[in-house]
């Protein structure tokens, strides 16, 4: 049985967040930086152009309503594994949720954070666009910048350009996120 640092065990139990309450599983381990999913080609296929037909169950799991519900539990933060166990290719759905201007804030913000676990061109492009969305919530822009930092490597041109543009954002938390991103 792998060792679980006690403070993190206590913290996980105390917060009742992200806890695997199935006795067959260990508690969630401390969060290490997420491993990015396999990168996709520059011509990012949408769910409608997949070369392989999606099975019925997987397709249902990838429906927007299903993904939105999965990622919207107010106190329970979904893990990337939670997401991909339901839908193997959630990026297009996550992008649609994140970009929905009328969507519930919690759902959009979670979708943006989860997009940060992908390194595909489509995910990066979506995050960069969200980070510049002037008429949107500052929390959307800030979260997109943080996710962009996870989704790209230091020195990535898109990351650098987006962060530099955000240095003049009217929101101080967005500016702070941009500074942090450029400093990495």
């Amino acid at each position: 049985m792998r060792s679980i640092p006690f403070p993190l065990l206590a913290s996980a139990l105390a917060g009742l967040l992200g806890i695997s309450c199935n006795t067959a599983r260990e508690p969630d381990a401390p969060q290490s930086p997420p491993r990015p999913a396999a990168t996709e080609s520059a011509g990012e296929p949408s769910s409608t152009t997949q070369s392989k037909p999606v099975g019925g169950a997987e397709h249902e799991g990838c429906e927007r309503a299903a993904i939105a519900q999965l990622i919207s539990a107010p106190e329970d933060v979904p893990t990337p594994a939670d997401l991909t166990s339901t839908c193997a290719r959630p990026q297009a759905t996550l992008i649609a949720i994140a970009q929905d201007p009328d969507g519930l804030g919690l759902t959009r913000l979670r979708a943006i954070e989860l997009l940060g676990t992908f390194r595909s061109d489509s995910a990066v492009a979506a995050l960069a666009k969200l980070a510049r969305s002037e008429g949107d919530l500052a929390s959307i822009r800030r979260t997109a910048l943080v996710a962009l930092g996870r989704s790209t490597a230091a020195g990535d041109a898109r990351r650098t350009a987006t962060a530099q543009a955000a240095l003049t954002d009217p929101d101080p938390h967005v500016r702070a996120a941009a500074e942090k991103l450029l400093a990495k």
């Binding site: 060792s3 679980i4 640092p5 006690f6 403070p7 065990l9 206590a10 913290s11 139990l13 105390a14 917060g15 009742l16 992200g18 806890i19 695997s20 309450c21 199935n22 006795t23 260990e26 508690p27 969060q31 997420p34 249902e60 799991g61 299903a66 519900q69 999965l70 990622i71 919207s72 539990a73 107010p74 106190e75 329970d76 933060v77 979904p78 893990t79 990337p80 939670d82 166990s85 339901t86 201007p101 009328d102 969507g103 519930l104 804030g105 919690l106 913000l109 979670r110 979708a111 954070e113 940060g116 676990t117 919530l137 500052a138 929390s139 800030r142 979260t143 996870r150 101080p172 938390h173």
Partner: protein, 370 residues
């Protein structure tokens, strides 16, 4: 079936909580030395020797705060009238019984009985933590009330333009608790000017609770009240770490900084740029329920359940889409309608509290009989 146990009379040498406390709510410090090697879930930990408390006859509720933070866990409890209820062999059992802090009663069936209660605490390393027992004495009451402080952090996005809508939507909160004969009897208000706290890590809640609050002139802050904070964003440490809200303790208590309130994310409740005030207040009601000691009726995996016999359970077999979660659409009629279901569905808000949950609320540390 919970283990039932005999009344355990107090013994010489027990720490006499009756002598150390007064009517109402008392915070009683305990000297605990965590120094004995032990194991928890297969891991080496350090544990205290058994510490026995003598609970007085008029005790209504009790909470054991190992260190006021998250470094100490209770690992054993042998309670008068209930027997040992902490099973330390699984995460699930620990979650159900003691986290984040041990409190009694858990239900009318798992009460806080007078007499001898013996516990142990564990931590990763040897130390003497600042352990305290919160004890409420007196009458429980069938109708109770509590006070709230509304504290808005600058930069949260809430301002005077939201006041009317917030006040109007607050009836959702009131109606939820009215089911249980629980009322908000007084409300104060204040603001925190440190806007850096508007985007808050959930492991920095102590910073929020320690921040300087400017009291409202019209509704001054109330000592001992539950502090209900509104921030713009509340961040957990996980990857998709946005939270809608968080209670600082289950239960919380005003006199411990780290456990003194509830935090709500404003932007989590926006639809576009508009604010869903009803969803905001429902989340607040859920988190306040935790703060008063209520647990989730069912956890995300379909287990464990709370100790209440009248809260609906949505068990693992209802996970129809086999994604490992019991979601609201799978639990309609099986608990999704309850305020304390693990998943508060903001598109179909919960509306129910049970008589068993009312018992826990009436017993809560900071409730006052009306």
């Amino acid at each position: 079936m919970l283990p039932s146990g005999p009344y355990l009379p107090c013994e010489a040498g027990d720490f006499d909580l009756g002598q150390a406390s007064t009517a109402g709510l008392s915070m009683v410090p305990l000297a605990v030395d965590i120094s004995q090697p032990s194991s928890l879930l297969g891991q080496p930990v350090v544990e205290s020797a058994p510490l026995s408390l003598c609970v007085p006859e008029d005790a209504v509720s009790l909470a054991l705060y190992g260190d006021g933070g998250e470094m100490v866990l209770p690992t054993s409890w042998i309670g008068s009238g209930i027997g040992e209820i902490i099973d330390t062999s699984s995460v699930q059992a620990l979650v159900r019984a003691v986290t984040p802090d041990l409190s009694l009663p858990k239900s009318a069936e798992v009460p806080l009985a007078a007499g001898r209660h013996t516990f142990k605490l564990a931590s990763e390393f040897p130390w003497s933590p600042p352990t305290e027992v919160a004890l409420r004495r007196g009458q429980r009451g069938d109708a109770t009330g509590f006070s709230l402080n509304f504290i808005i952090v600058d930069g949260s996005g809430l301002d005077s333009s939201d006041a009317a809508a917030l006040e109007d939507a607050a009836k959702v909160f009131d109606e939820l608790y009215a089911q249980a004969n629980v009322l908000v009897v007084a409300a104060g208000g204040g603001t925190i000017s440190d806007s850096s706290l508007a985007v808050l890590d959930s492991n920095k809640l102590g910073d929020l609770a320690s921040a300087t609050v400017t009291s409202s002139v019209d509704a001054p802050l109330i000592d001992g009240a539950l502090d209900l904070y509104f921030v713009r964003e509340l961040l957990a440490q996980e990857t998709a770490g946005q939270l809608a809200g968080k209670a600082m303790g289950i239960p919380g208590v005003a006199s411990l900084i780290a456990k003194s309130g509830v935090v709500i994310s404003v932007d989590a409740h926006r639809r576009g740029l508009a604010l869903d005030y009803v969803a905001l207040w429902t989340t607040a009601a859920h988190e306040v329920g935790h703060w008063h000691g209520l647990r989730h009726t069912t956890e995300r995996w379909g287990q464990p359940h709370d100790y209440l016999v009248d809260t609906p359970q949505c068990s693992t077999w209802k996970d129809l889409n086999k994604n490992g979660f019991v979601e609201p659409f799978e639990c309609r009629g099986s608990g999704a309608e309850n305020l304390m279901f693990w998943y508060l569905d903001m598109n179909q808000l919960p509306t129910q509290l049970t008589a068993g949950q009312a018992f826990v609320l009436h017993s809560a540390l900071t409730m006052t009989p009306l």
